[in-house]
């Protein structure tokens, strides 16, 4: 059933937009209803959803499990920080362009090495390469700020800076949230087109049966490389959006546990559905925040949740919800 959602010659875009419209309206009004702190958490969630969406192009659609997406997220964030530090830029649009170019360059390079392999070899290679970037950020402290990281002030959005009378939180909760939401919606729309394009079909074919895909004329290596780049650019873009929100970037976001969090998000939401990683990212963000506040053993708590999830709900939140919905429809 869930596989069929990934398949088919695709639902009509009009129907998709119509079914997504209530969610978009809800996301638009939430900052006016929620407390500022919760809106900030939602902003983080939307940013991470872009990263998870990119990640899932590899896992859910191409069958490649990357344990190195922290690298691309970090490249996006550090690209922004370098633009502030060395070029004195403050425009969010330029940050996005810079982060996109930087992450495209790094993913293209990493991809040349990684996509020649699959399964554990691919996962380990992505992990190893991300750790190379982590160690560079860690050791070249005169460039990267080392463990202190690099500060990124609140950017100008479409030329508009935080007004003197405006408090930074209000700016982030309203103007920046709206900005992130627009970029998020654009990313969702773009990814939806990609996974429902002929190229998206070819990726799913590669995931299902590499040999056969090759024997219908799909050039496996090239398609994987492009998917890897698209995936990395989405994640880099998320890094660019994340860093002004956080105000600081440190080597932590290049470290492998951060890649693990992105994997967690996709598994939590359900990597076999398009919306799964989005839901997973938003839920994970709240889950982690409240777990940290609830106990000092929050990693243990998240670990237990992950194990339970894999054993009891292997299709994640959206997969399970879909199955329950189908069961209810049959019963009705």
């Amino acid at each position: 059933m869930t596989a069929a959602v990934l398949s088919g010659e695709g639902r009509s875009p009009v129907k998709v937009v119509a079914s997504a419209a209530p969610v978009v309206v809800l996301l638009w009004v939430l900052p006016y209803v929620l407390a500022p702190y919760k809106t900030l958490l939602l902003t983080y969630g939307l940013v991470m959803a872009i990263a998870a969406l990119g990640f899932n192009l590899l896992l859910g659609y191409t069958g490649l499990l990357s344990f190195g997406h922290s690298a691309f997220f970090g490249v996006g964030a550090y690209a922004v920080a370098f633009m502030v530090k060395y070029l004195d830029l403050t425009s969010m649009e330029l940050f996005i362009v810079g982060a996109t170019v930087a992450s495209a360059f790094v993913t293209a390079l990493f991809g040349l090495v990684c996509v020649r392999y699959t399964r554990i070899f691919f996962s380990i290679l992505t992990l190893a390469l991300s750790q190379v970037l982590w160690s560079l950020a860690f050791k070249f402290f005169w460039v990267t700020g080392g463990t202190d990281g690099l500060r990124v002030p609140t950017p100008r959005l479409l030329g508009r800076a935080v007004a003197a009378s405006e408090d930074k939180t209000t700016f982030l909760v309203h103007a920046y949230y709206s900005y992130v939401l627009v970029v998020f919606l654009a990313c969702v729309a773009l990814m939806w087109v990609i996974v429902n394009s002929p190229f998206g079909k070819a990726l799913q074919a590669i995931r299902d049966n590499e040999t056969r895909a090759e024997f219908v004329g799909v050039q496996i290596w090239r398609y994987r490389w492009i998917a890897f780049m698209v995936s990395g650019v989405f994640t880099g873009l998320a890094g660019a959006l994340w860093v002004p929100l956080n105000g600081l970037t440190t080597p932590d976001i290049l470290y492998w546990p951060f890649s693990g969090e992105i994997v967690f998000m996709a598994v939590l939401g359900g990597f076999r559905t398009f919306s799964g990683p989005i839901v997973g990212a938003i839920v994970f963000n709240y889950l982690k925040t409240y777990a940290v506040g609830f106990t000092v053993y929050w990693q243990l708590l998240l670990g237990v949740i992950l194990v339970t999830l894999v054993l009891a709900l292997p299709t994640g939140i959206t997969g399970t919800a879909g199955q329950l919905l189908a069961r209810l429809r049959r019963a009705a």
């Binding site: 398949s7 087109v193 074919a205 299902d208 056969r212 090759e214 024997f215 219908v216 004329g217 492009i226």
Partner: protein, 250 residues
């Protein structure tokens, strides 16, 4: 002139001479059966010609052009397609998707990243038409992993057929299906192949199918060609019957 010609084609796996200096020719429009006991080198020969394996030495000419060093992709573009002994499908895609992907790839549209697949109406119509030819129209929306083995065998051939090949290799198209299903499957494949003028090479163990559906038979043994001829000639060939059955024909 031969559509396909191999010269001294050789592939060894260590001490095992899977294909040992084979000169193999297929004429245009022919339906040729490749027979031999297990390990005779039939599938290895097809793997070499289709590009799944690289030859140690020898040459493969297709339509007069040397394709020995060509990639799989290059050979498909030249007009060589194949099905597989163990059905190779995209199980989590629908049957329609499976065939459509071949057409997307054939038309050079599979790399389109920013346009919806559903917009290519002509390709979906052609995919539906291919499924209809193979009697699989009722399965179009079903996942390929969820249909019966006989249907999967047909779909496997349909996916290769949708590439518009000049030469189609069918690796045991009826293996793993019930005796009752074999003839209908072969009738379907044979009628499509012959009506479209596709040259086909069938690897098969079932001698009834071999004799009923092929124009010419090549028998392999221990990596070499043991005999070649019409079905009647092969039926009377003592070395073939000895090799395949173990006793001379009476």
């Amino acid at each position: 002139m031969s559509l396909l010609l191999t010269t001294k084609l050789t592939k060894h796996f260590g001490e095992n001479r899977a294909v040992d200096g084979v000169d193999f020719a297929v004429r245009e429009g022919q339906v040729l059966a490749l027979i031999g006991s297990n390990g005779a080198g039939k599938t290895s020969l097809v793997n070499l010609i289709s590009g799944l394996l690289r030859a140690d030495s020898g040459q493969i000419q297709f339509r007069g052009v040397d394709v020995t060093a060509e990639s799989v992709h290059g050979r498909i573009r030249a007009g060589i397609a194949r099905s597989f002994q163990l059905v190779n499908l995209f199980d989590q895609l629908t049957c329609l998707d499976n065939v459509a992907l071949s057409i997307f790839a054939r038309e050079g549209k599979a790399r389109k990243l920013f346009s919806l697949a559903r917009r290519y109406r002509g390709i979906w119509e052609e995919a539906a038409e291919v499924l209809h030819r193979f009697g699989l129209d009722g399965k179009a929306r079903m996942l390929a992993g969820g249909i019966a083995q006989g249907e999967r065998k047909l779909l496997d051939v349909a996916v290769a057929y949708a590439l518009h090949p000049r030469l189609l290799f069918l690796d045991e198209p009826t293996s793993g299906v019930s005796t009752r299903e074999k003839a209908p499957i072969m009738d379907t494949i044979s009628s499509i192949v012959r009506s479209q003028g596709i040259t086909a090479v069938i690897i098969e163990h079932d001698m009834d199918i071999v004799f009923n559906y092929s124009d010419r038979i090549v028998c392999m043994h221990q990596g070499t060609i043991l005999a070649e001829g019409t079905p009647d000639e092969i039926r009377r060939n003592e070395s073939v019957t000895t090799t395949l059955i173990g006793t001379p024909a009476s």
